[in-house]
């Protein structure tokens, strides 16, 4: 019976009574960022200690009163949390995470990775690549990477592809739509 009561106490909907603010508890972390939109980071094996390295860019919406955060041009405004693992830390230099467009014509610096090989930054594109590079210094003003790429990955939206010339639109010429 006690077990039943205890179970009910934990499962029944709560009833509200005024509670001192001191009892405030933080929101639980039992919800993971959406796996569907996660960016898998794959090693280039160009740097020592990165042969088995892996990483993930967890994508969530930036803070917004509307739930979904948008940039001024209507693109999503994402928080991207990078976490690497199974890799050694470099003897020299700093690992820095960047986001870039699929054309690699614009770059946003997400930040230098910390001791736990993680960093959080913001991205304002709907399609983007994430790269982690080894930079000589932690230069917050840097506008592009100069060092070798250690890992790289692509946003889920990169899987959205042209259907011209294949699949159900096989009769459509790719070139007609600007694709070769």
């Amino acid at each position: 019976m006690m077990l039943l009561l205890a179970t009910l106490a934990f499962t029944a909907p709560a009833r509200i009574d005024p509670v001192p603010a001191a009892l405030f508890c933080a929101v639980p972390d039992d919800v993971d960022p959406p796996a569907y939109y996660a960016v898998d980071l794959v090693t280039t094996k160009r740097l020592p200690g990165t042969g088995h390295a892996e990483g993930t860019g967890h994508v969530t919406f930036a803070s917004s009163p509307f739930g979904v955060a948008l940039a001024p041009d209507g693109s999503y405004l994402y928080d991207v949390a990078i976490q690497l693992h199974d890799m050694g830390k470099p003897d020299a230099g700093v690992l820095v995470a960047w986001a870039t467009t699929t054309q690699v014509d614009q770059v946003q610096r997400l930040g230098a990775l910390d001791e736990s090989l993680s960093v959080r930054g913001q991205v304002t594109w709907n399609k983007f690549l994430v790269v982690v590079t080894l930079e000589p210094t932690d230069d917050a003003a840097a506008t592009a990477w100069t060092g070798p790429i250690a890992l790289r990955g692509m946003s889920r939206s990169g899987m959205m592809h042209t259907m011209a010339g294949h699949g159900p639109f096989q009769q459509e010429l790719c070139a007609k739509y600007g694709y070769r």
């Binding site: 509200i16 739930g67 639109f169």
Partner: protein, 572 residues
């Protein structure tokens, strides 16, 4: 007592209404031709069953195998075969200030409108677009007598109002549908200040789209409830689907566009396609935004003017915030203060990144919703300083503080959203299986007009599934007591045939969105409708304060009528 009429919520309602609609409406004419540029090349052949081809981008190739397909339901247009001149011309909304105990008569009738150069027959509340703006003081009870003069049964749902359950306007749950020629009297008690709205809960995809919506502004006794503004404007955003002949028909027995909802291609503000405002230099205008579209989520940009978000569905935010746009999903409301500083003509626009699934790209889509002409004359008094201040609403913070200890409790219930299809044309199924390698969190445009049009509620079942029991939609049996505070976790499962964002609405109660994907919400506001993007896990805390049998559903009209709803009971 458990709710014993769950299945009738959908099956009974849809069957009865579809039958009535089918029986009452005159047969549609033979197939029509459309030679406008919005017609896809090769589609100007005869269509069956009164259908005209849905407009789509002429640069987009037609999916092979569906060129001659039409939705497997009849086509419906109000006043089909009748001279529009038979119906009175609709006129803009009028404000009705009501005190406690006052009565308003509302006639639901057919009206004549000129939209985008076409004379069309639509519906109206008291012949107005939108319906009358009802203003009432907080805690008042006003009486609204509704008489139905259209061919379909109808009801009025008072969206967001924690109303007496008997007057919630859900057919076959809280009342019998109001048949043509019949009346129903609603006693509308308004316990919360804010902007609410009213609309039918019978074939919303048709009736609401045709103009049956209006706002209910509940005023606070506190004169300082909002910050100072020079004036207030209602800003109801909507869209409607038209071609070279006028309004595109709706599904007669069941909604079309069941996959994505019926996106319009003509934008409207307050029911007008060319909405214009004037303002003085430095004028602070308080906009009350409501999205009444069937499915479109708008991202409203006020022409570069500084914009402050103040309130949402059921009250004010904990603190005001600067924003560069207002993202508003179907059925949501937001209150935004905007200061127009620069003289000239400014466009209020809908700015989104649309998806082209064929090309595999995003592209910017900007639609002008309204024009604001700002004069050189200075607005008085000068509200610059007050506008520059972001207020913290201590009353709201204190109210919400009582609930914070419950934010991190385990969910009382978990829902997931998904979809089931059967009987769709094979080319659509094949194309979509390829296309859904990636689905965006939000669908801001109809990227597949033909496939979407062909999907009806007879082939598509949108699902809210109780993750603990596996029960779906009307088979979900939840029961609560007044005073319960219930945490519901909603997961929009991206691994389905066609994932899509859902504006989730709960009748008769208020809730807080406490977190999305585990990220705490840092500026809370009481809501009745909230967006659940694809792939997202949203936690909400619902205060069960209002006894009765209540609906919860997706507010995309076509998803609602494709099954995405259930009822729950709150006992005294």
């Amino acid at each position: 007592m458990r709710f014993a009429r769950r299945k009738p919520v959908r099956s009974g309602l849809l069957a009865v209404l579809a039958g009535l609609l089918f029986a009452c409406v005159a047969p549609a004419p033979a197939a029509a031709q459309d030679t406008t540029m919005t017609m896809h090349m090769g589609h100007d052949m005869g269509m069956g069953a009164g259908w005209r081809m849905v407009p789509m981008d002429p640069n987009m190739p037609m999916l092979p195998g569906i060129e001659m397909e039409v939705p497997p339901v009849g086509a419906f247009l109000p006043g089909e075969g009748m001279d529009p001149a038979m119906f009175p011309e609709a006129h803009p909304s009028e404000m009705v200030r009501m005190a406690d105990g006052d009565t308003l008569d509302i006639a639901v009738s057919m009206v004549r409108r000129t939209l985008h150069g076409h004379e069309v027959v639509m519906y109206g509340y008291n012949g107005q677009y939108p319906g009358p703006l009802i203003q009432a003081p907080k805690d008042a009870t006003v009486v609204v007598r509704v008489t139905n003069e259209i061919q379909m049964p109808t009801t009025i749902h008072w969206h967001g109002v924690r109303i007496d359950n008997r007057f919630d306007g859900v057919p076959d749950v809280t009342q019998a549908p109001i048949q043509q020629g019949e009346s129903f009297t609603y006693q509308v008690n308004v316990p919360d200040a804010g902007m609410f709205w009213y609309h039918p809960h019978v074939r919303e995809d048709v009736q609401q789209d045709l103009g049956l919506f209006g706002n209910l502004l509940v005023t606070s006794p506190d004169p300082d409830y909002y910050g100072p503004a020079h004036r207030e404007e209602i800003f109801v955003v909507d869209d409607i689907l038209m071609d070279g002949q006028g309004l595109l028909p709706w599904g007669k027995e069941a909604p079309t566009h069941s996959l994505m909802g019926r996106f319009g291609n003509v934008m409207m503000v307050n029911g007008q396609t060319d909405y214009r405002l004037t303002a003085k230099k430095g004028e602070v205008v308080r906009f009350y935004l409501t999205d009444v579209a069937n499915t479109r989520t708008f991202n409203v940009v006020f022409g570069g003017a500084k914009t402050k978000i103040v309130a949402s569905d059921v009250g004010r935010f904990e603190h005001e915030q600067w924003v560069h746009s207002v993202l508003i999903a179907p059925a949501e409301r937001y209150v935004a203060d905007v200061r127009f500083e620069e003289p000239g003509v400014h466009a209020i626009t809908n700015v989104v990144q649309a998806v082209n699934h064929f090309a595999g790209t995003f592209y910017p889509e900007v639609d002008t919703l309204a024009l604001v002409t700002v004069s050189d004359e200075e607005a008085t008094p000068d509200l610059r300083e007050a506008f520059a201040t972001l207020r913290r609403n201590d009353e709201v913070v204190e109210d919400i503080e009582r609930y914070r200890p419950l934010f991190d409790k385990a969910p009382d219930h978990e829902l997931e959203t998904t979809v089931r299809v059967s009987g769709l044309p094979i080319p659509i199924v094949l194309a979509m299986e390829m296309d859904t390698l990636y689905v965006p969190p939000m669908e801001f445009n109809d990227a597949m007009p033909m496939m979407n049009w062909l999907s009806t509620a007879e082939q598509v079942t949108w699902i809210l599934r109780d993750r603990a029991t596996g029960a779906e939609n009307g088979d979900i049996h939840w029961k609560f007591k007044v005073g319960d505070v219930v945490k519901i976790r909603i997961f929009n499962n991206p691994k389905s045939f066609h994932p899509m964002n859902h504006p989730f609405h709960i009748h008769g109660q208020r809730f807080l969105v406490t977190s999305m994907d585990g990220v705490p919400n840092d500026n809370l506001v009481w809501k009745d409708t909230a967006i659940v993007p694809v792939g997202t896990t949203m936690d909400i805390l619902v205060e069960m304060s209002n006894p009765g049998t209540w609906m919860a559903h997706c507010h995309i009209a076509e998803h609602l009528h494709s099954g995405m709803m259930f009822s729950f009971v709150v006992e005294e």
